[in-house]
């Protein structure tokens, strides 16, 4: 394994160099362009273009008779670009909606491509072998000439994005405002779609027609989870692209039966999946943890409230209660009760003596606050929203946990420190 790694990362083998740098360049350029496609909510455009380049590749092979990468790229670019024009034309000049126009454009162009490919394969031209690799990509067989073509395209894309960065940003966010400024929105969109086509055209040589859309959109989608700044999003997407290109190349090198292109897409997807779950703020895990924390808080506050109410009922807040007495005040499941009591005791809000629990001074304050907020909110609802007193309890049960100390002060001042709630129960204040 160690040898493999050294062999690979010394890049002494020119084939490894071609594959690694080729894959990385492709992944990076499509990731950068993909950020704008993603933000303009045109994720499917990449899919259309990648399918639509096939007829162009076949046509330029039929005309030129060679597999020269530059000629193939030109052919691919023309039909890929044409597919976008056709799609926009259909949307603007017919009653057909965007989704249908997208599907139409994709399948018609791809159909023609397959037709031409089949024709070429049966034409007996010896040079045609390997042309079908465009369908699934051939990253492991990249040669020096390919690498040169990719580098040129990547540089071009970088330069265009660098110069048009602020315009691309504006038309992605607010095209109407851009037009009102007198910015040539149509022309800039044309430039953006042109570099998108270019990224797709080069990208499919590594990962193929079918997987190309993933290369365009997935890095952007993953990067969006980690940042709220466009420049950093583009940078992160590029890094994710580069990493996937490198990892895909290495995996296919280490395990010879493994294809490079699909592995690049696999790695990108894994990174996206990881972001989806673990990104700070936006990741699912963080959100689940937050929900759990809220649930715990609700349980704890409800328990303290019950203790307080028991104390209120017996006019003795130091009274110790057992589990049955607590459940009589409010229904808790046995496991909720057990866990909640353990936590509250650990936090110092209740004491335990002989299987009976009583409030500490801090617990008393906290329980009293929840009860106070509940009753204040009930009064607020009856006074300001004119809701009937028998309809306010459920709502207050929820809001009592939400109100912050600042809102509490406002609420008290607004209601002028009332003594009683709508049910004529006393509202307790801090002594």
């Amino acid at each position: 394994m160690k040898e493999l790694i050294i062999d690979f990362f010394s890049f002494s083998n020119p084939n490894i160099r071609y594959v690694v740098f080729g894959s990385m360049l492709l992944a990076v350029s499509s990731a950068i362009v993909g950020c704008f496609t993603f933000l303009k909510k045109k994720a499917l455009v990449g899919d259309v273009v990648s399918h639509a380049v096939l007829p162009g590749i076949c046509l330029s092979f039929i005309i030129s008779g060679t597999k020269d990468p530059f000629l193939l790229i030109i052919g691919a670019f023309i039909t890929g670009w044409l597919s976008i024009v056709v799609m926009d034309y259909i949307i603007q000049n017919s009653k057909i909606k965007e989704d249908t126009a997208t599907g139409l454009s994709l399948s018609v162009f791809f159909g023609i491509g397959i037709l031409l490919l089949t024709y070429i394969q049966h034409s007996g031209n010896a040079a045609q072998s390997g042309l079908d690799s465009f369908l699934f990509g051939k990253a492991a067989a990249l040669v020096g000439k390919d690498l040169l073509a990719f580098s040129l395209v990547a540089i071009l894309i970088l330069v265009v994005v660098f110069f048009f960065y602020k315009e691309f940003k504006l038309i992605s966010f607010d095209p109407a405002f851009a037009q009102s400024l007198g910015i040539p929105v149509k022309r800039i969109e044309l430039i953006l779609s042109s570099i998108t086509v270019m990224a797709v055209v080069t990208g499919i040589q590594a990962v193929g027609v079918v997987l190309m859309a993933a290369m365009l959109i997935t890095p952007a989608a993953a990067a969006r989870f980690w940042t709220d700044k466009l420049s950093i999003m583009i940078l992160s997407a590029a890094c994710i692209g580069a990493l996937s290109g490198l990892a895909g190349a290495f995996i296919s090198y280490a395990a010879p039966a493994m294809p490079t292109g699909p592995w690049i897409v696999m790695v990108v997807s894994l990174i996206a999946l990881f972001s989806f779950f673990f990104a700070p703020k936006k990741g699912i895990i963080i959100r689940i943890l937050k929900q759990r924390k809220i649930k715990r808080r609700l349980l704890e506050e409800n328990l303290l409230k019950s203790f307080y109410k028991i104390g209120e009922f017996h006019d003795d807040f130091e009274l110790a209660s057992n589990q049955i007495e607590i459940t009589e005040m409010r229904r808790f499941t046995p496991s909720q009760l057990r866990k909640g009591l353990v936590r509250l005791r650990r936090q110092g809000f209740i004491n335990k003596i002989d299987k009976r629990w009583s409030l500490t001074n801090e617990g008393y304050q906290k329980g009293q606050r929840v009860v106070r907020l509940h009753r204040l909110w009930e009064l607020y609802l009856t006074t300001y929203l004119r809701i009937a007193p028998d309809h306010v309890h459920e709502d207050a049960e929820n809001i009592e946990h939400v109100i912050t100390p600042e809102l509490e002060k406002k609420l008290e001042a607004l209601l002028e420190y009332p003594e009683y709630d709508p049910h004529q129960t006393e509202i307790p204040y801090r002594d």
Partner: protein
Amino acid sequence: MIKNVDNPALEIHDLTVSYDRKPVLWGVDLTVPEGSIAAIIGPNGAGKSTLIKSIMGLIDMSSGYNKIFGKDLNEVRQRVSYVPQKESVDWDFPASVLDIVMMGRYAAIGLFKRLRKADKEAALLALEQVGMLAFKERQISQLSGGQQQRVFLARALTQQADIYFMDEPFAGVDAATEKTIIQLLKKLASQGKTIIVVHHDLQSVTTYFDWVIMLNLRLVASGPTEEVFIPKLIEETYGGKLTLLTEVGELMKKEQFPAREK
């Protein structure tokens, strides 16, 4: 009741706009004097936003033209600012408040060029004017409706224009924001700037605006508030669409008739 003025800030001449051949604005003809705060009012679907958008060249007009300060839009674009409806954009875009406000400077900077320090200063000043300076680094998805509107307004202020077209700046904003906005508009007007606002709330028309444009597929009235904002004209504006007009429009769509013979 259509009152015209000499040397208007905005002149609309015989404007007809159609969507899919169906006219949504018929032969609008009006002028707005410089330095006024004008409201465009009318029921839903009356063509209020359409009027502003066609002035800004965002939708094609079937006939007519408009002049701003006596010139075509392209000649005076530097003096014109447009504030779209805040719902027209996706506020989940990865940008900060400052990023968005600086977009108002893009035209002044020009293509290919980067933002300069002066542009940032202009943006900060505009943010201060709308009371959002403390929020400059805030991610835009975390803003309330009122704050979003203030950001859009700040963006327009950085353009330092002479005429402002605003699409429903008072819709869905809190009371404090509404107050900030109207104070700002009045200040701009006192500096001689012209402000044209699509407006929904009839209660505030007399206190906010000195000029009113009343639309319902056609122009019902245009003139000083005290002269045109009267029960008879309000009723005519809001008293339902002209049935015959609507029917002809529907027919034009069905038969794909052009709005003008050419």
